[in-house]
């Protein structure tokens, strides 16, 4: 094994020994394509999430609990996984049975749960993407993967950025990150997109603005 390490490295060094120096990377592309205006960014996020078949809702901090309860009921979710650190008030009026992940649920137990409710780390307007980093109220990666319904709460404007270049600096690469753009989908049949394969087939996004 160490032999191959040395061998591959030596081959690389020989291969590029006479190569010219690389041209410096010019980052003259845009930092963002969308306007720096919170209201318009939120509209864009909404539009792009919906374009990839996420269901998007607008509410205020006071309305989260009612909306979560209604969405769970409408989707017929009888049990809901609660990640550690999820604000208790979000599920205050929901009728579904809470399944705590402490101690950790097995994959089979997760598969038996109907839904999961989480927050997120950041949302990207231009691409309609929500990023989870396993922080408080988001849980480990499996929680938002195995149940078929994912309700995700995004706090605007503080969690919304315009673009990928603006999102990366806000994320900690040391944490496991999941970037989600709409529900699970595939283009594998005739290169045409259809939604709903292994990940949650329904993604409900709650955009929460204060005031």
């Amino acid at each position: 094994m160490t032999d191959s390490r040395a061998r591959v490295l030596a081959r690389i060094r020989t291969a590029v020994a006479d190569a010219p120096g690389a041209v410096p990377v010019a980052r003259d592309y845009r930092t963002a394509h969308a306007p720096d205006d919170p209201a318009r960014l939120l509209d864009l996020l909404h539009e792009n999430l919906a374009d990839y078949r996420a269901h998007v809702h607008r509410t205020t901090p006071d309305g989260v609990a009612g909306l979560v309860a209604r969405l769970l009921a409408e989707r017929g979710a009888r049990s809901v996984v609660v990640p550690p650190g999820l604000p208790e008030e979000w599920l205050a009026t929901a009728e579904a049975v809470r399944r705590s992940d402490e101690p950790r649920l097995t994959p089979y137990e997760l598969d038996g749960a109907d839904a999961v409710v989480t927050g997120c780390a950041v949302a990207i307007a231009e691409t309609g993407t929500i990023v989870l980093d396993g922080g408080a109220g988001q849980g480990r990666r499996a929680l938002t993967l195995v149940p078929d319904l994912h309700l995700c709460v995004v706090r605007a404007p503080e969690q919304v950025v315009a673009s990928v270049p603006l999102a990366l600096p806000r994320l900690d690469p040391g944490r496991p990150l999941t970037w989600i753009s709409g529900p699970s989908a595939t283009s594998d049949i005739e290169l045409d997109r259809v939604e709903g394969v292994h990940g949650p087939r329904t993604l409900e996004v709650l955009l929460v603005t204060s005031g």
């Binding site: 591959v8 592309y29 290169l191 997109r193 292994h198």
Partner: protein, 474 residues
């Protein structure tokens, strides 16, 4: 067990069969045209596309120029984050490393994320021989595996199959691999996707070992990135206790920030989406989240040979988006299997002969599998000048002689001599013109015969242009 590409005929012969297969032609035409227009629209949304493309090219060039340093840094970062790094000089060594790692867990089955690197090294076949069953979980890979077929596209390995064929494969084969297809399965994509969901779920839930590749590895942070759509990737990366990732050494990028370029260009180029549904990023292991053991196998397997070629090394910039396949008129008609490799299409035509050499007939024929129309270069998000590399590889193949090329070289030399002696050229042209009534419309003989099977030569003109000029303008 899916088929392999061993013993493939040269491209022209394989392509002839594909061209005559009307179902295949219709499937490829439909799929590539669907994605072509969508890609163009997704790219047009970004008015700085040219700058992103140039930045992507330069990041990759800089990475390749100092690949040793970036890999060492990556190794350090991954190790610091709790992962273990292995180095594999070739396919056999990579297969051995992975097999030993799986055996050490005591498991006899693994779930796999779609990965070009593991296909390239024939990992599934190797594991099978060692008594370990590998389940492909990407929908298209599942179709290929169940159908005992070969992949024909980088992104959509089952692109050569239409919905009706996929339904038939599912109905016939799912039962022998696990949960059978639902009764009365139709050919609607939604139902087919649902069948795959049900079939694979039991495998995901019980899986103890996952095997993946990666789209990017960040040297600075030790982060690996997998870009996908279905969620099968997330399942394999998250639920098992042990994760083994086999990744080509060229997949490293120096910094976290570099992802800002590729996460914009890759989804739009491959599936024509602003962003693919799921992207997973992980750095080593994390307590209480995902696998507790992570192994990274860094794969050379011919990449350093390509790196040593000053023209050919640009092929290592490739981020496996497939845009060049989707836009290629030759791929559209010949299909992916004709390329005799897991890397079909224009990128395959320059990558395969560099990774495997040009000793076999099919590999030596690949650089010629292009009309040099340039559509591939135009859409490449890292600006690989594929036609330039094709011509360069043609020089190498011609230089090594071999079947047909000695005769060809003699003919080319003769044509050069004639063309370099306009006196002789003019005489030849005049002789041809004078005897033009005797010329057949169809050419006889080997080589040019097939050309004239579908075309008539134009009638030869009464006189060459240079004679008209001499009579009328001097």
């Amino acid at each position: 067990m899916s088929g392999t590409f061993v013993g493939m005929p040269a491209f022209p012969e394989a392509a002839r069969e594909a061209v005559g297969d009307t179902t295949l032609r219709a499937n490829l035409r439909h799929a590539t045209r669907t994605i072509r227009d969508k890609r163009a629209r997704a790219v047009a949304e970004l008015d700085d596309w040219a700058a992103l493309r140039e930045a992507g090219k330069r990041i990759k060039d800089e990475t390749l120029r100092h690949l040793d340093a970036h890999l060492l840094r990556l190794e350090e970062s991954v190790t610091a984050a709790g992962g273990t790094v292995h180095w594999a000089a070739d396919a056999a060594e990579a297969n051995r490393i992975v097999t030993d790692l799986v055996k050490a867990t005591g498991e006899t089955e693994v779930v796999k994320v779609k990965s070009m690197a593991t296909q390239e090294i024939g990992l599934n076949e190797h594991l099978e021989a060692e008594g370990i069953r590998a389940y492909e979980t990407d929908l298209a890979e599942l179709i290929v595996q169940l159908g005992e077929d070969r992949p024909s596209h980088i992104l959509v390995p089952a692109i050569h199959r239409n919905r009706g064929e996929i339904r038939d494969v599912f109905r016939e084969k799912m039962g022998s691999w696990g949960r059978p297809a639902p009764e009365g399965l139709s050919d609607t994509p939604a139902e087919l996707a649902e069948a795959a969901r049900l079939h694979l779920r039991e495998k995901f839930l019980r899986a103890k070992v996952g095997i993946s590749g990666a789209n990017f590895m960040v040297a600075e942070t030790g982060t690996l990135v997998v870009v996908e759509s279905e969620g099968n990737g997330r399942m394999c990366l998250t639920l098992p206790e042990t994760l083994v990732s086999v990744v080509g050494i060229e997949k490293v990028v120096p910094t976290w920030r570099d992802l800002e370029v590729f996460l914009q260009t890759l989804p739009r180029s491959s599936t024509a989406e602003r962003m693919n549904p799921y992207t997973s990023m992980w750095t080593g292991t994390t307590d209480g989240d995902g696998p507790s053991a992570f192994h990274l196998v860094l794969l050379d397997n011919g990449r350093t040979d390509a790196l040593a070629d000053e023209v050919g090394r640009q092929a290592l910039r490739c981020i496996r988006c497939s845009a060049c396949l989707n836009v290629c008129p030759v791929y559209e008609r010949a299909g992916g299997h004709a390329y005799g490799s897991v890397y079909p299409g224009p990128i395959g035509a320059i990558l395969t002969p560099q990774l495997r050499g040009t000793a076999s007939e099919v590999d030596a024929s690949l650089p010629y599998a292009s009309s040099l129309c340039g559509a591939c270069y135009e859409v490449c998000p890292v600006a690989i000048d594929i036609p330039e590399v094709l011509v360069h590889l043609r020089e190498k193949v011609a230089d090594q002689g071999g079947k047909g090329h000695r005769l060809e070289k003699a003919a080319i030399k003769a044509s050069t001599w004639v063309l370099d002696h306009p006196g002789a050229l003019g005489a030849g042209e005049r002789l041809a013109s004078a005897t033009r009534k005797l010329h057949p419309k169809r050419l006889p003989g080997p080589g040019v015969g097939p050309w004239s099977e579908s075309r008539d030569l134009p009638g030869l003109p009464a006189e060459p242009f240079r004679d008209w000029w001499r009579k009328n303008r001097t």
